[in-house]
Symmetry: C3
Subunit: 266 residues, 3 copies
């Protein structure tokens, strides 16, 4: 049940999803800003290994984890090549959670599920760092706003309401009578290939993936495919995934992000 | 002193050791599940860079850090190529700490020190996520079980007692009258080569490592080996280690995990 | 305003900056030691990807993040090739914050801003681990000292006052009438090249960077340089930085740490 924004209490948890990496001190600077405002904030690193400048990757990441967090959690999502130039910073209330980041499409994946209930353009400098750089709004705007929000400041205090958010053009799978044409959307740490083909498209249907004129039948666990080469299943995020049992499917097949995947329904 | 399981109170700390890497949101999903059940849980990342599918590496990791944690700490250890297929999920009480993970050998290193005092096969779905995937029990079973356990639920609530746990076949060093033959067990971030030769085997003895017919004498600190090429010492985990002062011993020697190391006692 | 050391209360936050990497359990061991002494400590990873043995990189990191933390925060900085051999371990009170690490130059960057107000050589074994290895003082000395300090133990309890600290020889930019000659000090996750040329040197002046006889004019945001090749700006840390919009400047220019950068004032 969606709560009116006035009744949504912050959980005290702030998650971070960025392309800042783990080598530099950018994340350390942001955490210092947050803790200087709210020493009790619980900061959770989702990942800082989003490919640099890759807005769609950040967007896909968001829709994979938000739902596991308690209501009132604040999610910072910062992949921001346009920082300081021509995009707004925004604070969104969506499905009993808060999202903060640049208005450049990083929230596309959740906005495709449902519209944002409240959008605020971040304009109230009272909640920013005293000195604001042109190149690191993560530290100077998004971090302090998240910390003040986590302390219970009303979202309407942070700026002026907006009607719309930037969205990326997302290529959805193409479904004809017995074929679905999708693509590889993500390659995980194991080399598993996540497609953009949602389990809803395959519900109650038998199907095979076609690769090099070979039919690959789905299994339900990884180990069922032991010694069977490339295989596929519906993964824990609800998407069709290609994998190789105890192997790196991306390396073995040379398939890469964006490559087409064809599914035949039976 | 070992406490009876009924008297062992959770410390509120949950540690994570996995092969999930830092690029994906798997860890972020697990942390959300834990915090949704116990917002006060203190989650500590040990490492998510275990080599994918490498159960023995996870097992070795566990025995290197558990003892530094307060009693009642919960250690999640998840390297799980057989997820959803043919292994149980288990919860173990061992030496005043709790361990949770797949029953596939990830706990071998601690079980070699002492048997588990209580083993529970995780079967009570009341403490699992409502929807359980076949491919991510870390999120759907182990994370929620750890969170409920950290809130004080009795370990006997989570399933049925088991008598035995899976163990890997571990090759121990071979000791004859004046020789010890071991192998390289781990290569650390500095390129230092950890052998499986425990300091107990070398206690009160003079010794040298033999490499390419050269004798390498042990030192007691890294810097003693400045400008002296490859050297060795007993490291902070109590194992014989080969190193190169301010250099990367693995790269310089081309030695790798599993390679044989010979020690002559004097 | 600087507080006398007796009035500086610990914030409960302990930050970690090391060259230990994310593959091993070294950090996990240290966190266990800290939490066993002070379960309420808030441990923040700044980075563990300092280049192994690279003391100047750790020193530069420290000055980039300390100021964002609340007063009374404890910063552990551990790049320590001389561990156990010929350097002291120290605890410093500087500008309302505490710093702990080896006395080998890791604190040079902050000491160039102002002298340490109090320096303590860590000698009181009461606050160390019971067993002290020769190769991992991070776990056996610095971690427990930080935890006890975070609980309010007076810094004078940990050892004896020292007058001086080791400092690295830092090459500062060379300024003549209309030229500044500096060098590349850091390459960040995006391939941006941080120079050691501070904005103070460029204040109220027009300037260009000279590379291959070409003049590169500064911009104020990254995106202004879209489709313009290599560009420069004053970055969020207050240093002159070379970058390439949505590209990796280090890879594209082959410039590397230590390379000379020439600026002409206009």
């Amino acid at each position: 049940m969606k709560k009116p924004v006035a009744q949504l209490k912050p959980s005290g948890i702030i998650t971070l999803t960025t392309d800042f990496g783990y080598h530099d001190t950018f994340i350390g600077q942001m955490k210092g800003v947050i803790l200087s405002i709210n020493k009790k904030a619980k900061i959770i690193d989702i990942t800082h290994h989003i490919t640099p400048f890759c807005i769609d990757e950040a967007s896909n990441a968001v829709s994979s984890f938000y739902k596991y967090y308690p209501e009132g959690t604040i999610h910072l999502v910062i992949v921001d090549p346009g920082v300081g130039y021509d995009r707004e910073g925004v604070l969104i209330k969506w499905q009993n959670q808060f999202f903060i980041g640049p208005d450049n499409g990083v929230f596309t994946s959740i906005l495709m599920k449902a519209p944002a209930e409240t959008i605020i353009a971040l304009t109230n400098r009272k909640y920013f760092n005293p000195k604001i750089s042109n190149t690191f709004h993560g530290r100077d705007i998004f971090a302090p706003v998240s910390a003040w929000l986590s302390k219970g400041i009303s979202i309407f205090e942070f700026g002026k309401p907006l009607d719309n958010l930037a969205k990326l053009n997302i290529e959805l799978p193409n479904k004809s009578c017995d074929m679905i044409i999708g693509h590889i959307q993500h390659i995980d740490n194991f080399g598993n290939l996540f497609t953009n083909i949602d389990e809803e498209l395959l519900k109650d249907r038998n199907f095979v993936i076609i690769i090099n004129n070979k039919e690959i039948k789905p299994v339900s666990t990884y180990k069922e495919a032991k010694n069977k080469g490339i295989s596929c299943l519906i993964n824990s995020s609800g998407y069709l995934e290609l994998f190789f049992y105890e192997g790196n499917c991306a390396n073995l097949t040379k398939l890469k992000k964006g490559d087409t995947i064809s599914v035949r329904l039976k």
